[in-house]
């Protein structure tokens, strides 16, 4: 029985020729990540360990991005704790406000994640780097502490689901629609404990930003990781952003999958996840009533990249957000912010009546910068629409692509650009 992409990466990092699903292994880590919410807990745990310091100051990334620039005194204290830890341990990849961005957009951009890596991050959306052919997965703070101290983590080798992607997406269909469609099909625990391995000729029709979005939300199906094969586009991305050596792992011909699905990109329609689970999906055509909204958020580790902003700007250009609507645009990193500025996208957003924020996770998790009041509805390009996720327990979040979010900002109700 052959191995999947994920199993091959794990075997190589555990010093084994072969692993199989269910096996417990200890793997060497190429990168350990934490943010301003999870790192303080990890730092406290690491201080209880009998170690002198971190295993490798170049293989740790600390990205304060959730509540920065600090939203209150308590979050300022957390960030101070992370900053001082970084200084004390001479962490190479600590990103202060001004350099930082939303972690899962920032690390690939900085060249810190490449194909063949094993990466853990104390943030559930760490699975994003699978877009580049890495094994990356979210963990908690104690795992992060142990990873920083020892450079190792324990894993149960996952079995896998194979998603065969074919065809070409039509206009206004992007990576977000692909992953929402898949989650709607298999459910929020459809890939529980498993890898989601995306394969097929249709991948060539997905941009890198589409792939980051898809891998990013593997966790929303319960997946341990999401992973793509490494093609010319991925190699070009890594060469542009990184000086590190990458390793390409391909699944064996006789690798075994728990389930296999085929997704025809050409058949997909703009897809929206209704409250309060990402699996409650409907296509735009299935929405028969007007769903009025109060706020739109375009950003996050899921959809705050340049492609996302370009699509939103294409929709908003020459148009205006509906009266009474709040439209919040959040470029995910400083580089994306600057590119958006140079391309004139920020002007389009501001002229349309949107606000443009510094990079932050803020509204996605109900931290700040766009909290919802009781009874309010938001169309958001973020990744979770759980009860109370963005504010009041009686508020509602509709997850959608940047295209649908921007169009909805214009009409004041859930809409597709094709309906404008």
């Amino acid at each position: 029985m052959g191995m999947t992409m994920t199993q091959k990466i794990l075997a190589a990092h555990a010093g084994l020729d072969k692993v199989e699903a269910g096996q417990l292994i200890e793997a060497d880590l190429d990168l350990v990540l934490g943010n301003d919410i999870t790192s303080p807990v990890a730092i406290k745990e690491m201080e209880k360990m009998k170690v002198d310091g971190v295993f490798d100051k170049d293989k740790i990334a600390l990205v304060p991005d959730h509540f920065v620039p600090n939203k209150d005194i308590k979050s300022a204290e957390h960030c101070k704790c992370v900053r001082e830890f970084a200084r004390r341990n001479e962490i190479t990849n600590y990103f202060e406000v001004g350099e930082m961005g939303i972690e899962h957009a920032l690390l690939p951009e900085k060249g810190l994640t490449v194909a063949g890596d094993v990466i853990i991050g104390a943030d559930s959306h760490t699975c994003t780097y699978g877009a580049l052919g890495a094994f990356s997965t979210g963990v908690g703070s104690t795992d992060m502490a142990a990873g920083m101290a020892t450079g190792k983590a324990w894993f149960k080798v996952p079995s896998a689901i194979r998603v065969n992607i074919v065809g070409k997406p039509s206009e206004w269909v992007s990576g977000k629609d692909v992953i929402l469609h898949i989650i709607g099909m298999i459910g929020v625990d459809g890939a529980l404990y498993k890898s989601m391995e995306f394969v097929g000729e249709g991948i060539a029709n997905l941009t890198m930003d589409d792939r980051f979005t898809i891998a990013n939300m593997a966790i929303e199906a319960g997946g341990k990781n999401g992973i793509f094969p490494v093609d010319d586009l991925a190699i070009a991305y890594m060469k542009e952003h990184s000086t590190r050596n990458y390793t390409v792992y391909e699944a064996d011909e006789d690798s075994v999958y728990d389930e296999e699905y085929t997704i025809d990109l050409g058949a997909l329609r703009p897809t929206i996840a209704f409250p309060h689970l990402p699996e409650n999906t409907k296509t735009i055509d299935e929405i028969t009533e007007d769903i009025h909204i109060d706020q739109v958020v375009i950003g996050s580790c899921t959809n705050g990249r340049l492609d996302d902003l370009r699509i939103a700007a294409k929709v908003l250009k020459g148009r205006h957000v509906a009266k009474g609507m709040r439209c919040i645009v959040i470029p995910a990193t400083q580089t994306i912010y600057m590119q958006a500025m140079e391309e004139g996208l920020l002007r389009i957003f501001i002229e349309a009546g949107a606000v443009v924020s510094t990079p932050t996770c803020g509204p996605c998790l109900g931290g700040y910068m766009g909290i919802l009041a009781e009874g309010e509805r938001c169309v958001s390009t973020t990744n979770r629409n759980f009860v109370g996720r963005m504010g009041h327990v009686n508020s509602e979040i509709y997850l959608a692509s940047p295209a649908v979010a921007a169009a909805s900002a214009v009409t004041g109700r859930i809409s597709c650009p094709c309906q404008l």
Binding site: T38, V41, K74, S141, I219, G222, L365, F386
Partner: protein, 162 residues
């Protein structure tokens, strides 16, 4: 490992870590403070009713969503002695083991046990007993490696002992 015994709080599918501990409280990492908001967005009365040793029982995919370790920390600090579920989301599963919060997977128990029942869990055998109903279930025993982490009351102690 010591057995757990207490009254049951029962929840359904997909209890996410946002409702276990909402992000508006994540500007703190103090277990005692987190415990005062535990389960707030799904069950406002939980913190007023929970007693030391009580048990949470839920159905599918308990602890899904955010990786925040604050979720199992809040549950443990609230006094909960064990979480029984049909399945756990994987990051929550790891986190619970790593911080020494006993959890056990058992679909039959998750279905059969009701809120308010008195339940006892023997971690050595994996046997879950519903004392109120007089029924018992065989839960999934942990692999030896995980048992060692739990016995050490968490990953940090386990690594220190190695």
């Amino acid at each position: 490992m010591k057995a757990a015994k207490g009254l049951v709080f029962k929840y359904g599918d997909n209890v996410d870590t946002d409702v276990i501990i909402p992000a508006r409280y994540l500007n703190s990492s103090d277990p005692a403070e987190l415990a005062t908001h535990c389960m707030e967005d799904i069950d406002k009365e939980f913190v007023n009713k929970v007693n030391k040793g009580d048990i949470i029982v839920a159905t599918k995919n308990f602890g899904c969503g955010s990786s925040r370790e604050h979720a199992p920390i809040a549950i443990k600090a609230a006094g909960v002695s064990c979480v029984i579920a049909e399945t756990f989301a994987r990051i929550f599963y790891r986190n619970a083991i790593n911080i020494g919060l006993p959890i056990i997977e058992c679909p039959e128990a998750a279905k059969g046990i009701d809120a308010g029942d008195t339940v006892e869990v023997n971690f050595d055998t994996g046997v879950i007993t519903d004392v109120t109903k007089g029924t018992s279930y065989q839960g999934q025993a942990f692999p030896e490696f995980m048992q060692k982490i739990i016995a050490a009351e968490g990953l940090v102690n386990y690594i220190n002992q190695k």
